[in-house]
Symmetry: D3
Subunit: 192 residues, 6 copies
Amino acid sequence: MTDTVSRFGTVELPDLPEDLRARIGAIAEKSGFVPNVFLGLGHRPAELRAFLDYHDALMDSDDGLSKAERELVVVATSGANHCTYCVVAHGAILRIRTKDPHIADHVAANPWSAPLTDRQRAIVDLALALSVDSASFGDHDIALAHEAGLADQEIWDIGAITAFFAMSNRLAHLMSLRPNNEFYLMGRTPRP
Amino acid sequence: MTDTVSRFGTVELPDLPEDLRARIGAIAEKSGFVPNVFLGLGHRPAELRAFLDYHDALMDSDDGLSKAERELVVVATSGANHCTYCVVAHGAILRIRTKDPHIADHVAANPWSAPLTDRQRAIVDLALALSVDSASFGDHDIALAHEAGLADQEIWDIGAITAFFAMSNRLAHLMSLRPNNEFYLMGRTPRP
Amino acid sequence: MTDTVSRFGTVELPDLPEDLRARIGAIAEKSGFVPNVFLGLGHRPAELRAFLDYHDALMDSDDGLSKAERELVVVATSGANHCTYCVVAHGAILRIRTKDPHIADHVAANPWSAPLTDRQRAIVDLALALSVDSASFGDHDIALAHEAGLADQEIWDIGAITAFFAMSNRLAHLMSLRPNNEFYLMGRTPRP
Amino acid sequence: MTDTVSRFGTVELPDLPEDLRARIGAIAEKSGFVPNVFLGLGHRPAELRAFLDYHDALMDSDDGLSKAERELVVVATSGANHCTYCVVAHGAILRIRTKDPHIADHVAANPWSAPLTDRQRAIVDLALALSVDSASFGDHDIALAHEAGLADQEIWDIGAITAFFAMSNRLAHLMSLRPNNEFYLMGRTPRP
Amino acid sequence: MTDTVSRFGTVELPDLPEDLRARIGAIAEKSGFVPNVFLGLGHRPAELRAFLDYHDALMDSDDGLSKAERELVVVATSGANHCTYCVVAHGAILRIRTKDPHIADHVAANPWSAPLTDRQRAIVDLALALSVDSASFGDHDIALAHEAGLADQEIWDIGAITAFFAMSNRLAHLMSLRPNNEFYLMGRTPRP
Amino acid sequence: MTDTVSRFGTVELPDLPEDLRARIGAIAEKSGFVPNVFLGLGHRPAELRAFLDYHDALMDSDDGLSKAERELVVVATSGANHCTYCVVAHGAILRIRTKDPHIADHVAANPWSAPLTDRQRAIVDLALALSVDSASFGDHDIALAHEAGLADQEIWDIGAITAFFAMSNRLAHLMSLRPNNEFYLMGRTPRP
């Protein structure tokens, strides 16, 4: 039993280059804590910087796919990939974005049969097709998404987020990354 | 999106035969609610009765395997089987039995690599071997369990609980069984 | 090569509690022998009792699903799970119930493509969906069963028998349970 | 439910070219019937001729691997490939060659955990490694076979028979080939 | 790292029986080299002879399926089976037969989603269904082939070639067979 | 059959923001062509920018892992993921970096059993463990890498490159991305 945050150790915020210190400091100020993934990636500043840039380009938008739907893609594919860090951390964000205290547990435990709206189901099915058996991903999957009313830019968003978290999940597996304690309870009870 | 408790409907407590009404009533009194699995199985009283008998024979004991270790087997194999009801309901019980608010989320999301003690790891590995690819279960798995110090009666317990929840998980999938709202928060915060 | 009946040993009939002795004695009188599964489970009387109760609640009925169809579910899912004991023992019962000396070998060797009537195929397909990849079991499988004319109570029977033998198969794997010699020839030749 | 011998039809013995008619006639005389595989392949004489030549080159020898051990490879890999025709037909031959009425049912139902001698286990393990997940077959598998005392020519025999039945199993699946009724009982009871 | 042609050694052309020496000599004369598979199989002349006969019966024909389409089946299934020798050697032949320098790399890397004509796609889909998960091959696959306009004799050709290379791929894995250097560049550039 | 470069269309170099135009222009000048992946990602400049940054941070270094070894990770995992674009494009780069005209075809067709040096085998095995079945990635895989002499920073490189191409492979599957014609022949013949 290892009880460390990452198999490769972590950096402290002050040891990061200034731009990353500022950027992650802002996240910490908003959330009240520094998500462990940044401390685990921090010993490779160029990789962390690109990781943050890519993440923000994909996740910080309500254009087409809503932010809640983007988190749905993350939790569904991270559940299918059995990535504990991403399930716990993004499960918290999904609960907050949807104001639904149960959806993350449903989608993480079983993305294939979790009860969802038709649009959510089409989003998750497309994400799973690309995440789990990507070799047979094809026109059939795109056609099903179109039939469900998803536009090309939404399909790109779903696919690109799925791809990005295929990477993130594996980085977390590589580090054996431990989720911050703060995530487990976030969004489970109504905010006062 | 269906929002019912079970695909096959549920019974009300008063509609059960007297022995089951008393037995489940006692559970409800202790827990504060009737776990949905009983209401879903209730339209088949003989099956529900045998289910309860088998469950109690396997789970209500601290002889050899502790009650917490029994729940660990349930959550690990239900996580591998992607059974939302069992993950949520027995995750709650595991948190309570271990007084650890995080272990259930770790083991449910990824039973293969969750951080565990050596004894817990041996218990989970044996359970996964029988749960996931049971056709190749064999002397090798038993030998690994013995090497980890597990006694024959403990191995039986792990195997029999794994087998029982291979059934339970499939019953929950058959019903598309929804967990009670009460389970999600149980054991996540210290009791006053 | 082990040549014992069970990896965990067996009990003798006289060593069982009286109710189990009577119950299994009646089976032995009817069959001419005691099926090994009872002797293997016998060192845990409470578990054996619940096992028998559950088994009888599911298998001893011609209401909706015929007894032969119930055995078909057992042999198909036990074949998919590679459970030698259940294939041999329930293969024998299936031959007797159907008076077909070949169906059990076909269904056990390849449940996916064995030649069957349309109703039998729908029963087996539903059972395999829940047995093999239960995580993705869903409304689609239920809809296919309905289309094939299966009623809800029949679907429950198929699902519950599949679930019960997901357990039984794993108990047999746990014990490395050897089938009784009597099973191999039963139902292969016309009774005089 | 189709009840024909082959999805592509069969030929009658008199319609075969003379050399094949003589060759298969000799088999029929010895066995008392013409195995269906020859009638199913017979509409392509050149393929049938090569099939017979290859089969005989691999199976009609006691040099190194015994004939019974060769049939063991066939039944084990055909069981893993869920090929009903080969399991039933070669199961019969295995029973006759080993004079063991049960081994074929054990190995066909579960080649991974059937009770076998150490030499038989090594033979079956090598065959399964090449049959089921051939992409990762490698030096490790060869080394395990050597450790078990298998000589290079025996390893070749096991591998070549496994490869040949990877073909045969697929030909039988292609035809949906029905086993002859005679096979089911062969070798199950002592010959007078 | 082994750098030999075959794990079991090779024969020299002069050491083969006369008929095989003549036959393979003719191939060598035409190609400019002796494909390694013949030298690897050569220490078992009867097996090599049957291999050549079967191969020629299936591959040397433009009746129904064209020779290029036959090679397409080989490269697609060898790609799915991760057989380096067959991918490299038959990839070369496919490039030559189709005069398309890219198709072999596409089909070998990903037979499921390589861009193909509708007829080619139907051929490859049927071949993959029988090659990869042959146990569930059935009427559904035949029906899809018929819908795509494939005739029964073409379906047989596709199935039989798939079956033959299920064998060949495993023989190559058994030998850890190295492709001849000549194959890698064949058909990649226009012939003068 | 679609014959376009990407399912979502491509951008022309002049339509990119200035920094990307300069950056990709420099690549084009060096290579003689613009790799299609940049044109396919170009309609999302922020994503393309992060993609390039991440790629360069991982691939443009000979510190610890050599550039050839980094490409080996890419081709092995892209082969396992059946990503045609990455196999063809990075196969070309691997041939150039290793000056070995065959290694890319071997590793792409079968990364599990391609003939490699011990160090290369350890690198590829670690990459495959994280790429294919990432859920069970764990201390065991890290220990094997250490035993093979890989340092922690090399293990990180292997893991991070594997993760990045788990993303890239899925982006290519999403786009159904066609490799540039130039890649197929690169590194196959000695440069004058």
